[in-house]
């Protein structure tokens, strides 16, 4: 019993991490209609920034932890906004090139991080409570999993409210379909794009700092390794659907945990299988609108 609970809650923790990456990915997909391969780099840079701050301010107090999460968000947002301004924006309505430019950015940014911070992982620690455990029905759950879940819920709520109570939600959905018509309605679609990119980047940055605390290290590759699962989650959930991504993130991660544990380490296999089955049965994903 306690094992099941352990698997379930740690699975949700991992799912929360997937969601933090997938949320921005899904948002940006909703925005530019393409998968952003550089999203992992937003996350990685956020993680490095958070680590640099924590390192300088003493890693083990809560204040510096919260500050590094915020810094991670800001850095992720700035990186994403710059990406949009300098690269994506120039490729006006050329989706294929937009995807490709993010592929190039992913390649070069990871190499640059390697050059700056080295290829060895840097190990991080946080407030000591985070490294402790809490007993839930006999299972010792690492505390930072709760922080992850909380952060994911907050980010989900934040983005949902933002889309609901601002015009951005509409602009994004319309802009994907026909960007020039949106401008022809008198809307500065470029600014909307930058804002949304920045929000996606911020979510990734938060994800980065929390991922560092979850993995216990930062390296240039943490973004990339999470990205593939974030893709899977985004697609299973239905492209562009945030709540779909949230459900899929939880589903994928929990399933992965159980399969890893009970089915001889076949977690990845099962996830990939799930992806194939979902798409073959429901090509638009769980909550995706039919194309």
């Amino acid at each position: 019993m306690s094992t099941v609970i352990l698997l379930l809650i740690t699975g949700l923790g991992l799912g929360a991490l997937y969601f933090l990456v997938a949320s921005g990915l899904s948002l940006i997909y909703g925005l530019m209609g393409v998968l952003n391969f550089a999203h992992g780099s937003f996350l990685t840079l956020g993680a490095f920034a958070g680590w640099e701050l924590a390192r300088r301010t003493g890693a083990d107090n809560w204040l510096s932890f919260v500050a590094s999460v915020l810094l991670g968000a800001v850095v992720g947002a700035v990186f994403a906004a710059l990406t949009e301004l300098l690269l994506i924006r120039r490729l006006y309505e050329r989706h294929i090139e937009q995807v490709l430019v993010t592929v190039g950015l992913a390649l070069s940014s990871v190499a640059l991080f390697d050059g700056i911070w080295g290829t060895d992982p840097v190990y991080v620690s946080g407030p000591s409570w985070m490294g402790g455990t809490t007993d839930v029905f006999g299972a010792s759950i690492p505390n930072n999993r709760f922080v992850l879940i909380l952060a994911a819920v907050l980010v989900l709520l934040g983005i949902v409210l933002f889309l609901k109570y601002t015009r951005f939600g509409l602009i994004i959905r319309a802009g994907v379909e026909n960007r020039s018509m949106v401008t022809a309605l008198g809307i500065d679609v470029r600014r909307a794009f930058t804002v949304v990119f920045a929000i996606g980047g911020a979510a990734a940055g938060i994800g980065g700092v929390l991922a560092a605390s979850y993995y216990g290290y930062v390296s240039s590759s943490i973004g990339g390794s999470l990205l593939i699962f974030a893709f899977i989650v985004t697609v299973i959930g239905g492209l562009g659907s945030l709540s779909g991504a949230a459900i899929a993130a939880a589903l994928v991660a929990v399933l992965q945990q159980f399969a890893n544990f009970y089915l001889g380490g076949t977690g990845d296999f099962v996830v990939v299988l799930l992806l194939a089955v979902v798409l073959l049965v429901r090509p638009s994903g769980l909550l995706g609108s039919k194309a």
Binding site: L87, L91, R94, H95, S109, A111, G115
Partner: protein, 362 residues
């Protein structure tokens, strides 16, 4: 109507030039051309021949991907799988089944055919991003399989070395690199011919039409599924073929071949060369390989290590240079290298603009 006439005459000229080029490439091992900084040594040296041979294999692989991505507009994220089947398949049949080289090649080819047909048949039931993801899923499954090393067949992260018992001597050893070079040249020519053949055939035109507008294809009375499957399978088995040549050239297969990154590399190559252009895939493959392999030498050269930090740190990372270069190409050279060539010579192969095959994914 100018195109009507050029339609007939142009191919003759083109094929003639291509023939001369192949003939020239064939005698390269006899020549002593040296381009410092590009080649590690004169062209008759094994190091340079190896590099050339390797780049021709990557070009062939890119061509096979061009068929699927550029011609059929199918964004497959799992193309590396068929290449890996070639390399690992041949490695396993030689080492563990103890087959002779020729039967081993046939068995591996059939395996590639079978897997491509099965995966294609399933994944072509969906389109766009879903298709990309289903193909990725199958490739990931392959990757997990290779890494899990079932029955110690694949060697896991230690890789699988070529068992040379049944490989003829003229393929073994650095001194024989020129034979391997000719093998790779042969593979490139073969793949190019098959690709051109297919693209020019009626089926090839139907595939191109399907890429443009699938519903319309149905309405004129064609079921697009089979042509797409046909293209996917041809692309797949060509990749398997290239994978086998790869094993002979490199003498070992590692799990990198099955990685999603590797397919992404193919995408990069095809774009670098120019989506939709056959020559683009070839040139992209060659340029990419040279950059990839030679930038490593550049990045660790004294010229770089003497620079101030702000330049040295990025420049000492080959992937940084490659990625940046790629971004620049995408930003400033729409249509890739072949696109520039086509614009300069004003001879359009299909369209002036790069293919917007990803558009359908939106």
């Amino acid at each position: 109507m100018t195109r009507v006439r050029s339609f007939l005459s142009q191919p003759l000229v083109k094929w003639g030039l291509a023939g001369i080029l192949v003939a020239f490439l064939a005698i390269v091992p006899m020549l002593a051309i040296d381009i410092p900084g590009v080649f590690p040594g004169p062209t008759y040296t094994p190091g340079t021949l190896q590099l050339l041979a390797f780049s021709m294999l990557i070009a062939s692989l890119a061509l096979s991907y061009h068929l699927i991505f550029g011609v059929a507009g199918l964004l497959s994220f799992g193309h590396a799988l068929y290449f890996a089947i070639g390399a690992y398949g041949l490695g396993i049949t030689l080492r563990h089944f103890g087959l002779e080289l020729l039967p081993a090649i046939v068995v591996t080819f059939v395996a590639g055919l079978f897997v491509a047909a099965a995966v294609g048949a399933l994944s072509l039931r969906v389109t766009g991003i879903s298709f990309a993801m289903v193909t990725l899923a199958f490739a990931q499954a392959g990757s997990v399989l290779v890494r899990k090393n079932p029955g110690k067949l694949t060697g896991g992260d230690e890789g699988l070395a070529l068992d040379t018992t049944h490989v003829p001597d003229f393929f073994i050893g650095v001194l024989q690199t020129k034979n391997l070079y000719w093998l790779c040249l042969g593979v490139l020519v073969l793949v190019f011919l098959v690709t051109s053949w297919f693209e020019r055939s009626r089926a090839g035109h139907v595939v191109a039409a399907t890429r443009e507008n699938e519903l319309r294809v149905r309405v004129i009375g064609i079921r697009p599924y089979f042509v797409k499957l046909l293209t996917f399978v041809i692309g797949g088995v060509l990749a398997t073929l290239v994978g086998m040549a790869y094993l002979l050239l490199q003498s070992s297969a590692t799990q990198k071949l099955v990685s999603a990154d590797f397919t992404l590399t193919l995408l990069v190559i095809v774009v670098l060369g120019g989506v939709g252009y056959r020559w683009g895939a070839v040139i992209g493959g060659i340029v990419y390989t040279f950059l990839d392999q030679r930038l490593t030498a550049f990045a660790s050269s004294d010229a770089v290590s003497g620079l101030p930090d702000i330049l040295r740190v990025p420049l000492s990372q080959p992937l940084f240079i490659l990625g940046t270069l790629f971004i620049l190409v995408v930003l400033f050279l729409p249509g890739g290298i072949a696109g520039v060539g086509a614009r300069l010579s004003r001879s359009r192969m299909r369209a002036d603009e790069p293919r917007t095959v990803l558009e359908e994914l939106t």
